[in-house]
Symmetry: D2
Subunit: 332 residues, 4 copies
């Protein structure tokens, strides 16, 4: 396997999906060892750093990429297998940003309230215990939380000539913010433009489902992934395969539409896997679906539909691509 | 412990929360052994039974109850501990009902489509293997699914003089359809009227999160529960405590409002448990929340916020009520 | 025409649709001269009256009624023709109520903000100029606004054994808060229970579309209406006929569902009036619909679909009922 | 006044806001006489033309532009005054497109229904009577409808480096589909990039509010407009000024968020015009707002907040820009 290492300089960050020239061309089968900056572009470093003073909202969620995948054509399926996600710093940050988040008025859910207080929490990483430490700002509550690294943002260039900020999740992936995007997972994305032009970023040392305040435990991440290409078969919405689960992530508003789309996508996948009629798949899904929310805070909300493979007969998605990639990963 | 057994006659079913005279008065501490009919009132018995022909939509979700809890006053907290949920039949049913469900036009999400085909799936229960059997109607797909019994509908009489059908979930509980309502769980409900007037029903032999088609594996259920009363402390939204988790269930539309309310409710609970400031609780919840949807099909949608106790310092909700009820249950 | 006059005593107010014994039985064709209290139950009388101190939220939106209409059966259509709406006081009130309204966090759109300031505006009525006077509380802005009296709340007992507070709009009508409910209009409501059990209340001396802050220019009202009964023909959602317009009001969440239902209802009405195929009616409606919002603040949001009769061939709704009622009204 | 005439060649159409090189540079004060193709790119010409066969969904809503406005900088306000909208053909078209529209499942409101029938309606324009003729496809219903020309799509390049399809409405304007965008109106748009890069298109010979089926009476249009530039003052959401009204158009999902944003925008405008405190403006708006929906069918829904100037003291928006442009227009 070819291994490509890449750490972007600050001026090389991508801020959008689409609209950026590729930083590298890679062949299917390549292993990428990437460094990604945190969602705050590294600008929140202490509890006294106020988001409104330190952040430039045009420069959040910096992406590492985009990569041009040789041979990828519209209608193809890009497979990104995450071999390893390793915190690249010993600390991470989270914050309440004015008029951003799930339990606050926003620029869309416009209200007449003053913004909530701006606060920044710094989490220290204890690599030995594999925990990050939550410390209350108002009181002496303190608790260790297991590190569970994930990537908030994984996507390709959008369809329809569009260019979208890296804050948005949609059919092209993007800022889905789902804890399912973790080491051991394979993400399948429909290709919209030649070369796919994928990028990754927004590492979270951990995140709850829904990402209530809008920012997870945000930290720079070392990302090892394998790129593969499947001709044809582009799914409408991003899919994730793990050893134990099939996952579909859809992003829209209101939240029920995101959920509907993710369920619809899974009904389609069940049809591909088992030849199930849509109504039978609808019925089966009704009884076995998990539905852990991803985020209810971004420009689109992201809902997850997830099925445990143990509840299903043996199936083979994309010709066994996930198993193959797990085997490749084991060789590294 | 006093043990009260009750199996309603068909004419004793309650179809609403509120508006029905109590069927029994019970003392706090009482064990209830109840039988509940399925959501279809037992009318769907074979794959040839069409919902539109067999069902009377004014008589679905029959409730067993209501029970008048001696001493319960508005502002108090009713605790219902589910000791055991045992399928009362060897089969269960699910169906697509015209213009009802998550991936169909409905009376609210009004569209010009014809209804989806009406289909009924009968699930056989294998008590030895503890599975129900899904059999596709269109093809020969067949799979065993573990029985995971739960109650779709648990509630008290609403506030504000209202009477609501047993199809609706809201602050009073009702048709929340969450898989969290299972044996071993304690449900806390705010009391709105003297005696609380709670009832239960809508047994599911299993259900996925979201309940996509609108009906789970619906079956009659034998329910063993213990009733307790906590003076004061009424939560805004129903809470559930399990050995491993704290859970808040909120129901509204659009789905993001249900999620917001359940997160808001959990922030309040974290404040009660640990004296956390709301913004600190918001931050902590952002990193540890689970958010498994309950239903996206009923008159209100129900969203769940769930926290694993193992992530938190030891806490004691309602003076240790759940632990006490677990001990009581162990004596039965 | 029989004329019945009725002014409720305070203890006779109804607070719900359904669940209340009729205050009078009336024959179809009866003229009712009613007095209705304002939505605040008359408790906000000066700019220093704080809603949180003066209001009991269980006693807002008092209704005058319910009236049992002799001969009304489920499936019938109740026609209420508003002959005259006359302010019954020389002042009216509006207010920002904590966590109630369109541009604030609410009990459903739960957030972590403090409530907006509680403010009360008193409007003086100038009967000669037929205006109410808006005076800014913070500054010296002042403007006369034309009086345009309407009723916020008109409804019948709900279906499905339900009892709903007078704050809720739904298929039974209720707190729709649409400026279309004015003198000269005929409201058609589907009958759900014997006698229909209708009531009216919540007079507004004027209101904008959407009712942003949640309370209009709220004032006691003298209401003259004629009751008529049409056998059968119950519409799903409330309809209003004016000399110039056909109107359908639907109430749901999210707001697009309210809009969808009102459009769907109008497509049905166009089918009744002109025998139009649903897809042709959908197309025609697309080009001629008005869609002035009613309220985006109540427990359900209300959307209006409205068509100017001048754009359509002559039609006759309900056998010319509106024209007949206009003629009857002219005789008073 | 300099007058620039421009009719794009087919290969000159723009399909996005942003991401396209300017077709012309114009000075503030310039009069533009433009031709715009219809939303179907002229491909639906008879009732037998099926959208799924004739349309390329990547090539709908062709834009005439973009124009680089000399001197326009981010934060400035672009004023576009529509002097005249004149149908450029003697016919127009409307259609039901599979899974597109307000009363159908869509790619976002994903369901399991088959698509609604694909139908195309051709409207003949009678210039003398100034009507278009609706003819039912299923039956012999036929009615003349007044021509009320408007532009569905008016916008500038988006902020945040984005490029959006011409099907989307958002803060940059775009496919707002409001009947308020008619001759005599001045549209104010915040400038996001040097030169503003505005374009126009999507002429409608008439359209109802909400645009239920997703397509209005779509026709090629001759557009005469005057471009002006105001330094600074960029509004968050597009504003429209007419002789009689102030209008704010906001676009989001769910629809209540679009409405909230448009109301919030108007409260800001009232503050600019009269120095009103936000809470006083909220109160005043509650009593005088009109809220005619624009579209509930596009990628974002668009809601309108509108105030009749006659209800307000004399005000002057943007230093009297609208009046000035009306005077300029009168000289043409």
């Amino acid at each position: 396997m070819e291994i490509v290492e890449f750490t972007p300089e600050r001026e090389q960050y991508a801020w959008t999906f689409g609209g950026v020239a590729p930083i590298r061309t890679v062949q299917p089968g390549t292993v990428l060892k990437l460094w990604t900056e945190d969602a705050f572009s590294g600008r929140l470093q202490s509890a006294s750093d106020k988001p409104s003073e330190k952040l430039d909202m045009r420069e959040v969620n910096p992406q590492t990429g985009p990569f041009f995948v040789d041979g990828a054509e519209p209608g193809d399926t890009l497979a990104l297998h995450f071999v390893d996600l390793e915190p690249a710093r010993d600390w991470a940050a989270s914050a309440t940003i004015p008029f951003f988040g799930g339990l606050t008025a926003t620029d869309r859910t416009a209200m007449l309230h003053e913004p909530l207080p701006e606060l920044t929490w710094i989490y220290q990483l204890d690599r030995e215990k594999q925990v990050v430490v939550f410390e209350a700002l108002r009181g002496d509550f303190r608790v260790d939380l297991p590190v569970e690294p994930m990537l908030g943002t994984v996507g390709v260039a959008p369809a329809g000539r569009e260019v979208r900020t890296s804050l948005v999740p949609d059919m092209f992936g993007g800022n889905m913010d789902t804890p399912e995007m973790k080491a051991g997972a394979t993400c399948y994305l429909g290709v919209n433009v030649p070369g796919a032009l994928f990028s990754v970023g927004d590492g979270h040392y951990r995140q709850g489902e829904g990402e209530a305040c809008g920012t997870a435990v945000e930290g720079a991440m070392n990302v090892t992934l394998i790129v593969e290409l499947i001709k044809g078969g582009a799914p409408v919405w991003p899919r994730i395969e793990q050893d134990e689960n099939y996952v579909v992530v859809a992003s829209s508003r209101p939240l029920e539409d995101a959920w509907r789309s993710s369920q619809h996508g899974m009904i389609g996948w069940l049809g591909e896997l088992y030849g199930l009629d849509p109504l039978d798949a609808y019925q089966l899904l009704t009884q076995i679906s998990q539905a852990p929310l991803a985020n209810v805070v971004d420009a689109n909300y992201s809902a997850v539909t997830k099925i445990a493979k143990r509840l299903l007969p043996t199936g083979e998605a994309y010709g066994g691509m996930h198993r193959y990639l797990r085997e490749q990963a084991a060789k590294l």
